[in-house]
């Protein structure tokens, strides 16, 4: 199993540009999450999904959108990138509450 995969690994955006961060998992997990980690800080939840077609906001959803059309994929869309969105983005998945999360390798995004 590849586990949780993320693409790209690195990206530099100009202010106002848009992009989609890709996330996929092959563990048949229903629950998937997007976090951001700012330097020297913990993770903050952006959006999560409990199954295909179901998404919900986390702690810091502004400036982001998600979709979940399949169990495997959970892309994160940034519209009108801003310098405040410079961060490392982690995707994670699990079998549901009471279970550990499995994290992808992360995407390092810089907005200039």
């Amino acid at each position: 199993n590849a586990g949780v995969t993320q693409t790209p690994k690195f990206r530099i955006l100009k202010i106002g540009q848009s992009m989609t961060l890709q996330c996929a998992q092959d563990m048949n997990h229903n629950y998937m999450y997007w976090y951001r980690q700012d330097p020297g800080m913990g993770l903050k939840l952006i959006y999560y999904s409990v199954g295909a077609g179901i998404t919900d906001k986390g702690e810091v959803p502004n400036g982001y959108n998600v979709s979940r059309s399949t169990t495997e994929d959970f892309p994160l869309r940034l519209e009108l990138a801003a310098p405040s969105q410079t961060s490392v983005y982690f995707c994670a998945s699990d079998r549901g509450s009471y279970n550990e999360q499995f994290f992808g390798p992360g995407t390092r995004l810089t907005v200039l």
Partner: protein, 113 residues
């Protein structure tokens, strides 16, 4: 609002010594997780604690949960250099929005020879 506080945030210790990292949280929960992150890497699950009094051990690390005190501890026994990393606790609150995991800021551990 759920707050998760870890202390210390930075910890430098010598090999062979013992120390404890604390994780306090502000709302009712019986689901607490510990993760490890090496520099520039992703997070790796260490422990899942799901009830009051839960204790789990793996090698030189032992984690416990006291839901009444809203406190979890991560105890390090006879530290070795390989334990150098950042350790995060994360709390899953008992609420309708029960997948809104909150992470502490992390404890950056450096073990020196």
């Amino acid at each position: 609002e759920l707050k998760v506080e870890q202390n210390p945030l930075f910890l430098s210790m010598q090999e062979g010594k013992n120390y404890t990292i604390y994780c306090n949280y502000s709302t009712t929960s019986d689901r607490l997780y510990w993760y490890r992150q090496d520099p520039g890497k992703s997070l790796e699950s260490l422990f899942v604690l799901l009830s009051n009094g839960a204790v789990k051990q793996e090698g030189r690390l032992m984690a416990s949960l006291d839901t009444k005190a809203r406190l979890s501890t991560l105890h390090i026994t006879a530290a070795v250099h390989d334990l150098s990393a950042t350790y995060f606790c994360a709390v899953d609150p008992l609420s309708y929005n029960n997948n809104d995991m909150r992470f502490g800021a992390g404890t950056r551990l450096t073990v020196k020879p």
